[in-house]
């Protein structure tokens, strides 16, 4: 079971690098949604006995991250008629190098952390750290609002991976509450993207510079 898990997390880590290296917004959205589906399946692999709540969490994750959010973002792109090319503040190659370096550092760093025996052989911790770093790089290094939203969602994916470490021990109420909050957060992001495109006719955050010192 661990090997399937590691395969999926490895896939998610590869998708991180793909997101960092791609310059087209639809590609980043696709990467983000595939990652969401991959992660959504994972709690089912973790659970030894079938649990309704965990299954529900998995289903909601796959639906929201895999389908709802991407279609929201694509619709925003269509209606705002924004260009498909992303313009990075941090170039594609430097951000790719940063991401790769971060992934290696995450794997090396996770070895030094004390882990429970059942987690020692998995990529959960390095996978989480690598995704969080990828998300931060996208958030800081891109100017289009859509790619920043994708960065935020990849960051959230990383946190989700980490949450899997605790899914047995913390009461499921907390886990589902957390998932609920992620959904609400994404709803608001959708609204904001919608409002921004009406107000600015563009999703270039460099134009959001009226407010500055």
């Amino acid at each position: 079971m661990n090997s399937t898990m590691n395969l999926l997390i490895g896939l998610a880590m590869g998708l991180n690098l793909l997101a960092l290296g791609s310059g087209r917004l639809p590609a980043i959205i696709r990467v983000m949604s595939v990652q969401g589906v991959v992660l959504g399946v994972m709690p089912l692999l973790l659970e030894y006995s079938f649990d309704w709540m965990v299954a529900l969490v998995a289903l909601v994750t796959v639906a929201v991250k895999g389908f709802v959010i991407p279609s929201l973002l694509r619709r925003a792109m269509r209606t705002a008629k924004i260009e498909r090319e992303d313009e990075p503040l941090i170039g594609f190659v430097p951000s790719l190098l940063l991401g790769a370096g971060g992934t290696i550092a995450a794997i090396a760093g996770a070895r030094m952390l004390p882990l429970l025996p059942e987690h020692a052989g998995t990529l959960l911790v390095p996978g989480a750290m690598a995704s969080v770093m990828t998300g931060l790089i996208l958030l800081i290094g891109r100017v289009k609002a859509i790619s920043q939203v994708c960065g935020y969602l990849i960051l959230e994916n990383g946190i989700y991976i980490f949450g899997l470490l605790l899914i047995h021990s913390t009461p499921l109420l907390v886990e589902s509450g957390i998932l609920l909050d992620l959904v609400v957060g994404v709803f608001v992001i959708g609204i904001i993207v919608d409002r921004i495109q009406r107000a600015f006719d563009s999703l270039d955050t460099r134009k959001l510079t009226v407010l500055r010192e």
């Binding site: 959230e156 946190i159 009461p171 109420l173 509450g177 609400v184 992001i189 009226v210 407010l211």
Partner: protein, 479 residues
């Protein structure tokens, strides 16, 4: 039971406001809920209830020490809100009123959260509920501010979730059963896994620090406070920052119980001083009197975390300062809102001579400025004095020196802007300067807040002092 009503009443009020017909009568739900909430929280302050062991929510000493200040601030904002929404009839107020009430309910829950996960959920809820309030004005600048707020605040809150997970894992690795109440975490103490506690501390400090607006995570603050209506700014600066601060305090107690209190206190001192320095420098540079209030808020958040790092006496001073910050910031935001509305502009390049246009608001604004820059006999003077005393007593003389220097610079920055706004001749350049009708509805609430700040300074009620002592004892009793 009573303490659950603190959460339930505002949330019911929010639901009621959402389905209420009639834009004119809906705002009255704000003061109606505010009165109930304040009465209830003052009752709980005087006669605290027993806290059930292992409960997820409860009116524990920390909630008792802080939450009544938020209630009072909300009541004043609510009273102001009725008059304010009467002026702003061109905007529908359904979502506004509902969001304000939802924020009050979630803040009550957040202050009473004794469980790491519940604390995070309520803080996230507050963050989301504030979004419609921020773009109430529906200008493109307001959207820009909302976007920054959501992106920076959302990232911060996501990192604090990761921090909560790390703390949970620290407990699990140390043989814990996955009980994430603060009582259980503190009891586990040295059993928590050290590297995970340190990672959790950094993430939680960054996360909740973003919510508080500590530098360098404060970047959303000037935009949000500048664009939001004064009443929203007051609630954000006096209520939302407070719940994030109690979160930092609760987490610090766990880290300290795990034997890492020294590390935690050093980082708090560093980030606090840095916030004060950044705030002081920007206060010297900004020309916008609403953004000025945001930088002043960053400064006061710095003061709070410095107090939190200075042992039991410092934590006591920090609780005192929470009250002073909520009350004086409320008065400043509400009076600044009046001035902004009368002048139609916010920078000192366009606004001057407001003492002639809005004499009452200008008087409150100037007095509030003296209160917030810690002039005696207002409350902030005494709480900041206690922070300085605590830092000298614990041997942090350099900190005390830097603290005073930053206060001095902030004083220069604030007086420069406030007097440029108030003094001189009214500039009629853009032709919108009009004699605002300074009705009692927009004058009395900030005046009451200012009066309470004065009262706290001159004669701190005994029951408050006791509440702060109990909370400080709970937070620093660890070995």
């Amino acid at each position: 039971m009573r303490e659950n009503l603190l959460i339930a009443i505002p949330l019911l009020g929010a639901a009621l406001a959402f389905f209420w017909r009639g834009d004119r009568t809906r705002p009255l739900l704000l003061p109606a809920t505010g009165i109930l909430h304040t009465a209830l929280s003052l009752w709980l302050l005087v006669i605290p209830p027993a806290v059930a062991a292992g409960a997820w929510f409860g009116f524990d000493p920390i909630a008792r020490a802080v939450l009544p200040a938020v209630s009072i601030l909300f009541l004043c904002c609510a009273a102001y809100g009725v008059s304010y929404l009467r002026i702003r009839t061109e905007r529908p107020n359904r979502v506004f009123v509902a969001s304000m009430l939802a924020i009050l309910g979630l803040l009550s829950a957040g202050h009473q959260a004794m469980h790491l996960g519940m604390l995070w959920i309520t803080t996230e809820g507050v963050t989301l509920a504030a979004v419609p309030l921020l773009h109430f004005n529906a200008t493109s600048r307001a959207f820009e501010a909302t976007w920054k707020y959501l992106l920076v605040g959302g990232t911060g809150i996501a990192l604090s979730l990761l921090g909560s997970f790390c703390l949970g894992y620290a407990s699990l690795r140390g043989g814990g059963s996955g009980d994430l109440t603060f009582v259980a975490l503190v009891a586990q103490g040295a059993g928590l896994s050290r590297p995970w506690v340190l990672i959790a501390w950094v993430l939680l400090l960054v996360g909740y620090g973003t919510k508080m607006g500590l530098a360098p995570m404060h970047t959303w603050k000037p935009d949000a406070y500048g664009e939001a209506p004064g009443i929203v700014g007051a609630m954000l600066a006096g209520g939302v920052t407070t719940v994030a601060f109690t979160a930092v305090l609760r987490v610090r107690a766990v880290v300290s119980a795990a034997g890492q209190g020294g590390v935690a206190d050093r980082t708090l001192l560093l980030i606090g001083l840095f916030s004060m320095l950044v705030a002081a420098l920007f206060l010297l540079g900004t020309r916008d009197f609403k953004r000025m209030l945001a930088y002043s808020s960053v400064e006061h958040m710095g003061i709070l975390v410095i107090g939190a790092a200075l042992g039991s006496a410092g934590i006591w001073a920090a609780f005192f300062h929470v009250w002073n910050n909520s009350l004086t910031k409320g008065a400043l935001f509400l009076s600044a809102g009046n001035i902004r509305r009368a002048a139609g502009a916010r920078t000192v390049d366009e606004v001057s001579g407001m003492a002639a246009v809005t004499p009452r608001s200008a008087a409150i604004f100037v007095t509030g400025m003296f209160a917030v820059t810690a002039c005696p006999p207002f409350g902030p003077f005494f709480s900041e004095l206690r922070v300085i005393r605590a830092s000298i007593e614990t041997g942090h003389t350099v900190t005390a020196g830097l603290f005073l220097a930053c206060l001095l610079f902030a004083f220069f920055g604030l007086t420069r802007l406030v007097f440029a706004t108030v003094d001189g001749r009214p500039s009629a350049g853009n032709g919108v300067v009009s004699r605002l009708n300074e009705s009692a509805g927009v004058i009395v609430p900030p005046l009451v807040l200012l009066g309470m700040s004065l009262w706290l300074g001159l004669a701190t009620p005994r029951v408050l002092g006791d509440a702060w002592t109990a909370a400080a004892a709970q937070l620093s009793h660890s070995p």
